[in-house]
């Protein structure tokens, strides 16, 4: 089954990740996802004791917290996912890497269903796909807030 076309306008890092997954078969996709899960960096010190100030993704079955920092070079997301949820962790990590340095406008322009181009629907249950689609929605909400700060 062919994956959907890669939607135009993705941040370049995210596009590269989508292409990486696209070229992988089912087993390789799972390996990639686990690699990303392993690579998710721990939260920076200042957030570790302050998860209450982060955005919680309530739709995820597992506790997921996200926040964003705006720097000169663009946005940096910090995402916290329990180790016993490697699928969600892997997806969070690839979003984090893929969105590193993107502008809020770029994040807001990502289609909510871009992961179909990665072929994740052949690997994950519909339930998981639903759950992870909420994660991007929350990151967009954070990006929209940053955008509002920038243009008073």
């Amino acid at each position: 089954m062919p994956a959907s076309e890669i939607p135009p306008g993705l941040p370049p890092r995210l596009r590269a990740i989508v292409e990486e997954f696209r070229a992988a078969d089912r087993a390789e996709k799972l390996e990639l996802l686990l690699d990303y899960s392993d690579r998710l960096p721990p939260l920076p010190e200042e957030w570790r004791s302050n998860r209450a100030a982060m955005e919680q993704v309530h739709e995820c079955a597992t506790p997921v917290y996200a926040t964003v920092e705006s720097r000169e070079g663009g946005l940096t997301f910090h995402i916290d996912v329990a180790e016993e949820s490697p699928t969600v962790r892997g997806y969070a990590a690839l979003l984090r890497e893929g969105l590193e340095g993107a502008t809020p406008e770029m994040v807001l322009a990502i289609p909510g269903d871009f992961f179909y181009a990665m072929g994740l629907q052949h690997v994950l249950s519909p339930q998981r796909l639903n759950g992870i689609s909420y994660l991007l929605a929350y990151l967009k909400r954070l990006a929209a807030r940053e955008l509002a700060k920038q243009s008073p």
Binding site: R26, L30, E31, L33, L34, S37, H58, E59, C60, A61, E83, E84, S85, P86, T87, V88, G90, V123, L124, S125, P126, Q127, R128, N130, G131, Y134
Partner: protein
């Protein structure tokens, strides 16, 4: 584990630790999170992938005899192998896999009491090394759905029959129709909220303790009998797609010894969407 009707269907973590190298035993992990096994599993355990291996890719159904045989051969499981399942979320998916194995009549299937969480809590080892076993020798009969699986029309007839019982094992909010999905989980596509008429609500996880082990036989009996789910009845359990209810099916069949229990895997995602079927709120 005394007091259970079929105590042999349950092993504890220490038993598993003692049988890691036993060629007559195959430990099988089945999780909701498809990557958990890859992240670390009991040494020597094989992975059962419920999306890719137990479901048919085209029909909403389970695999057929031929594919089950191939699966067994590839996991190094023979007809006389003892298969011990364990997994995440109080063994929720482990009991689902066990139920599918029983559709093919695999004789010796067991659950590791407490599942993955208990194994980890006890500081027992995990590995990422995927074992390789010599191919199993397996001859499966045709899948026999009649004994432990219920279909929509049977459920419709069932709820009009005396001497039957129907257990809805979802959360109270799903049962009342307040929610269309599990708390904390995304909506998964049922058009209506509520439950199948006559069903009583006994959430599946009320059968386990905090450490994921099953409650005692007395506690379990009290839990089900107090709601009218008694051994003299023809019992059907359902949830959303039949995974949580396979947990309840396991409890009623193996721990309490109820003689006639079926799992309606069509469950709410079929019933809640079907044309012409009544619901209650």
């Amino acid at each position: 584990m005394s007091g259970y009707a079929h105590p042999e269907a349950l092993v504890d973590t220490a038993w598993v630790a003692d049988h890691l190298d036993d060629p007559k035993v195959r430990i099988a992990e089945c999780d909701e999170d498809i990557l958990l096994y890859d992240q670390g599993h009991i040494p020597g355990a094989v992975k059962i992938d419920w999306v890719g291996e137990l479901n048919d890719p085209i029909v909403r159904d389970y695999l057929d005899r031929e594919r089950f045989e191939q699966l067994m051969v590839s996991k190094g499981i023979s007809n006389d192998t003892t298969v011990v399942f364990y997994g995440d979320k109080h063994n929720w998916w482990a009991t689902y896999a066990l139920w599918v194995f029983k559709l093919f009549g695999h004789p010796d299937v067991r659950i590791m009491n407490g599942g993955r969480a208990k194994w980890i809590a006890e500081g027992r080892p995990l590995t990422r090394t995927v074992p390789s076993y010599p191919p199993g020798e397996y001859h499966a009969p045709e899948r026999n759905d009649a004994a432990i699986r219920a279909f929509r029309d049977q459920v419709l007839a069932h709820i009009r029959q005396p001497g039957t019982a129907l257990v809805d094992v979802r959360s109270p909010q799903e049962y009342t129709g307040e929610r269309l999905h599990m708390p904390e989980y995304p909506q998964e596509g049922a058009l209506r909220g509520g439950h199948i008429p006559t069903a009583v609500n006994i959430p599946w996880a009320s059968a386990v303790r905090e450490d994921s082990t099953f409650k005692s036989a007395d506690e379990l009996r009290e839990l089900y009998v107090s709601k009218g789910i008694t051994p003299d009845k023809d019992v059907i359990a359902y949830c959303r797609i039949g995974e949580r209810s396979s947990h309840t099916w396991f409890v009623l069949t193996y721990l309490l010894g109820y003689p006639k229990v079926r799992n309606y895997d069509g469950s709410w995602t079929e019933w809640g969407n079907a044309v012409g079927l009544p619901i209650e709120k």
